[in-house]
């Protein structure tokens, strides 16, 4: 870079009209060329900026803290989904067991005991049979009740007779 070009670029630099590329050219120039009296201020400033740019953050403990922070963690959502799946699997096993038992019972039960609703005549016969059983039950119960009544009546008669006898004996003694 000749002195005219340097002068032109520096003027633009102080006026804040330089592009980033032109500023890079100035930076390179001052890195490699000793400053003159006229360019001393700019050279010192560019050297200062260069020195600032080389400053690095080297801190092992900070790096470790950042690395720990960025470690993959089990997020709450993933944990929630995981637990949900476990519960769903448990429910699925339970439903399957109930279904299998139910199926087994259906297979071992006579067809006429099940689903009589689809055949009205069979349903009517089954209902009649059931009512007959109930009616027989009522009949048997009535017979037993009659026997009990007879027993009660007999017991009452015996009590009355015994009471009469004791009353007569008392009168006699008096």
């Amino acid at each position: 870079m000749d002195s005219k070009e340097l002068e032109r670029l520096l003027e633009k630099y102080w006026a804040c009209e330089t592009t980033l590329e032109e500023e890079q050219m100035l930076r390179e120039y001052f890195r490699t060329t000793p400053a003159t009296e006229a360019t001393r201020d700019a050279a010192v400033m560019f050297a200062y900026f260069d020195m600032q740019r080389t400053r690095q953050l080297d801190d092992a403990s900070l790096d470790e803290r950042i690395a720990n922070m960025a470690k993959p963690k089990v997020r709450p959502l993933i944990r929630f989904v995981h637990n949900g799946l476990r519960i769903a699997a448990g429910i699925a096993v339970l439903v399957a067991a109930v279904w299998l038992v139910h199926d087994e019972i259906r297979e071992n039960t006579p067809q006429e005991m099940l689903d009589t609703y689809s055949d009205p005549e069979l349903a009517f016969e089954e209902t009649k049979r059931a009512l007959l059983i109930i009616s027989r039950g009522f009949g048997a119960a009535e017979e037993q009740a009659r026997k009990l009544d007879l027993f009660n009546e007999a017991q009452q008669k015996i009590r009355n007779e015994m009471t009469n006898q004791s009353e007569e004996e008392v009168k006699r003694e008096l």
Binding site: C16, E23, V44, M45, M51, Q52, R55, M69
Partner: protein, 170 residues
């Protein structure tokens, strides 16, 4: 954002974020805390970060906001200790030149520390980090004209003060 994107895109920004926080806070430990807080925010945002167009500008803006919060919380002026960042790593041929360079750096650091915060931020983002005006607008949430005005004032203030120091020893 997944772990790979975080490691390849965001983690390499740590030194830039640190330098910007240090420029504003003037304290290396506080600047590190701010950097960690930025990474935590990026990581916890997760998928929402995919909507961010420019991650670097976004991270720098968070550094800016967190640093401003700290400055306000502590009710203090931002400060840059003169010793911060004066580690000369360049190859200097002679002890005399080295001493001269250290002195010049000290002068610039001193002048930078006297600039208003906004001017320091704009000068840092442009001349240290090489950001475009558009990126600076995004980070500092300013319009283009404001950025150019701050940069113009900052560069010329440093230049004038350097000239005065060298000419009159002021």
């Amino acid at each position: 954002m997944d772990l790979k994107a975080f490691q390849t895109t965001v983690l390499p920004l740590k030194s830039k974020l640190f330098r910007f926080a240090l420029r504003m806070l003037g304290n290396a430990d506080e600047a590190k805390d701010v950097v960690q807080e930025v990474f935590t925010r990026v990581w916890t945002k997760g998928r929402a970060m995919d909507e961010v167009r420019n991650w670097e500008a976004w991270c720098m803006r968070v550094v800016h906001n967190l640093s401003i919060d700290r400055i306000r919380l502590n009710n203090r002026q931002h400060s840059v200790p003169l010793s911060e960042g004066l580690n000369i790593t360049q190859d200097i041929p002679s002890p005399h030149e080295r001493t001269e360079l250290v002195e010049s750096m000290r002068q610039v650091a001193e002048i930078m520390a006297t600039l208003p915060l906004k001017q320091q931020q704009v000068l840092h983002l442009r001349d240290v980090e090489g950001y475009s005006y558009k990126e600076i607008c995004e980070v500092l949430e300013l319009d283009m004209n404001q950025v150019k005005v701050y940069l113009f004032r900052a560069r010329n203030a440093v230049r004038e003060k350097l000239t005065r120091m060298n000419a009159y020893g002021l």
